[in-house]
């Protein structure tokens, strides 16, 4: 009996020849990512609770200040300071203001075949490069930081077979929201969502990251895609080589197989207050918006900015709407400057922010007020996530968000 891609990566990390869904394995973690959302607490535990504080391999640690930057309060600044000082003392790779952690990880660190822990739930994005990324809390993180190892319950896999091609005006974001709507917010809990099929060939790296990134919203432990030619080209362009290029065996056992024709996918939105509360975009036409957000680890990449800029060029953001455009990393920002995209956004009346998590995280810049409505390419639309507890978030693709910013109400790109 063959193994799934997830089983293969975990077996490699556990240094065992075979492992099966349901097994518990002790694994050596290839990389440990953490950000300012929780690292201050990890550091406190490191200092106050460990009998023998030490770090197994500081070179495996990568830390980011990306959630609340620039700092919005003395308390935030104090937590950042704690991180900065610890990173300096222990020579931990430290990025402050370089962009959203997952994007920078994809640009600089993630390699196919690796097993990566991130103290952030969207770590599953690394599956786009064929790596097993999963989100952990700071206690798990600390354990791995100290020992270099952790335990994993080997997950079963839902294989999603993609055929065909997305239609014009439809984004990878629409695809993954459709899938989450289908299987539900808990539909993949403890499982891996694996994407395969000839449809993959038409998906760019940006599309793939966007898809994998959002799988945690169906409860998934991780998301995986085979590192094919597109992924390996990306890797090479960024100066790295794979740890191992793996894929599921033909005779591997899957929990479930879902087949999707990409050509059938339509623009979709997730309505308040849950990611699986999806509806065709047209059902929400006319909903007035106060703010629109293009950015995040999900849709702040160059490809997203390109399609959005193309749509908004020569047009204006609707009066009274705050349109936040936040590139996902410094290199995205730089490329976007070179291509003239940033200028297009500013000219249209958008506010271009420094690369960071911004309003997707809802505690720093662009928070929305009581009764306000946001349309966002962020990852979540939980009640109150973007600000006031009585506010509304719709999630949609870069195209739909930009179209809505122009119209001042929810609409799709073909209508502006």
């Amino acid at each position: 009996m063959g193994m799934t891609m997830a089983e293969k990566i975990i077996a490699l990390a556990a240094k065992v020849p075979v492992t099966r869904a349901g097994d518990i394995e002790t694994v050596t973690v290839d990389r440990l990512m953490s950000n300012d959302g929780t690292t201050h607490l990890t550091i406190d535990m490191y200092h106050n609770q460990l009998k023998h504080p030490h770090i197994a391999d500081p070179d495996k640690l990568v830390w980011f200040v990306d959630h609340n930057i620039p700092a919005d309060s003395p308390k935030t600044a104090a937590s950042h300071k704690k991180m900065r000082e610890f990173a300096k003392e222990h020579q931990i790779a430290f990025y402050e203001g370089e962009g959203v952690c997952h994007q920078v990880m994809m640009e600089r660190y993630v390699r196919p075949g690796e097993l990566i822990f991130g103290a952030d739930s969207h770590t599953c994005a690394y599956g786009a490069l064929g790596a097993f990324g999963t989100g952990v809390g700071c206690t798990d993180y600390l354990y791995a930081m100290v020992t270099g190892t952790s335990w994993v319950l080997v997950p079963s896999t839902i294989q999603i077979r993609l055929n065909g091609k997305l239609k014009e005006g439809v984004c990878a974001r629409d695809l993954i929201l459709t899938i989450i709507g289908q299987i539900g917010a808990g539909g993949a809990t403890y499982k891996v969502m694996e994407f395969v099929g000839e449809g993959m060939k038409s998906l760019t790296m940006a599309d793939r990251i966007s898809i994998c990134n959002l799988c945690v919203e169906a409860g998934a432990k991780s998301a995986l895609m085979e590192a094919d030619e597109i992924a390996l080209t990306y890797l090479k362009e960024h100066g790295r080589t794979p740890k191992a290029v793996l894929k599921s065996d033909e005779d591997a056992v899957f929990e479930q197989v879902i087949t999707i024709d990409l050509g059938e996918i339509k623009p979709i939105v997730a309505k308040p207050h849950f990611v699986d509360n999806v509806a065709p975009a047209q059902e929400c036409f006319g909903v007035k918006i106060d703010e629109a957000f293009l950015g995040s680890c999900n849709n702040g990449r160059l490809e997203d900015l390109r399609v959005a800029a193309q749509l908004i060029k020569g047009k204006k953001v609707a009066e009274g709407v705050r349109f936040l455009v936040v590139p996902a990393s410094r290199s995205v920002y730089k490329e976007a400057i070179k291509e003239g995209l940033i200028d297009t956004f500013v000219q249209a009346g958008a506010m271009v922010m420094n690369p960071c998590c911004s309003v997707c995280w809802g505690a720093c810049q662009g928070v929305i007020g009581q009764g306000e409505t946001l349309i966002s390419t962020g990852t979540r639309n939980f009640k109150g996530r973007a600000g006031h507890k009585d506010s509304y978030i719709y999630l949609a693709s870069a195209l739909t968000v930009t179209a809505s910013a122009i119209a001042g109400e929810i609409t799709t790109s073909d209508r502006v």
Binding site: L50, H67, T76, G137, T139, L153, G186
Partner: protein, 157 residues
């Protein structure tokens, strides 16, 4: 014995503790904002030994360990839900917050009811009856038995 605080389906980590409080220096400073958007009085009302009961998929969303940590800091004895999101579940066990999967209790109790979780007898006891405690996976039970992952780590070292 503790009081029940009952919540709905898909209680996400932003409801348990919102983003704007996560960078506060300590859990102690965060805990008064627990469940703020759902019940702004929760942190004031909850007492040591009380129990949170919820429907399916409790703790979905982010990996923020602050979510189980504030519940523990407020003295919540256990969270009993139909199912849990993966990361929350693991985080809770790691810090020694009791998380119990039970599909019936949500339908049987209301907020304000009294309930007892008797670990020795392995029972959840309500005014109406009792429910057996589901067993934790072995690995997790070991961590709980040692008093959480850090305690386990300190024992290994």
């Amino acid at each position: 014995m503790g009081k029940v605080f009952r919540f709905h389906k898909d209680v996400d980590t932003d409801q348990i503790i919102a983003s704007q409080y996560l960078l506060y220096p300590t859990v102690e400073e965060m805990k008064e904002h627990t469940f703020e958007s759902l019940d702004s009085e929760f942190a004031k009302k909850v007492q040591k030994g009380d129990v949170v009961v919820a429907h399916e998929n409790f703790g979905c969303g982010s990996s923020r360990e602050q979510a189980p940590a504030v519940l523990k800091a407020l003295g919540v004895k256990a969270v009993i839900a139909g199912s849990f999101a993966r990361i929350f579940y693991r985080n809770a066990i790691n810090i020694g917050l009791l998380v119990i999967i039970n599909k019936e209790l949500y339908y049987e109790v209301q907020s304000g009811d009294t309930v007892d979780v008797d670990l020795e007898k392995g029972l959840i006891i309500t005014e109406k009856g009792s429910y057996p405690l589901a067993k934790l996976p072995k690995k997790m039970q070991e961590i709980m038995d040692m008093g959480g992952l850090i305690a386990a780590l300190n024992k290994e070292a």
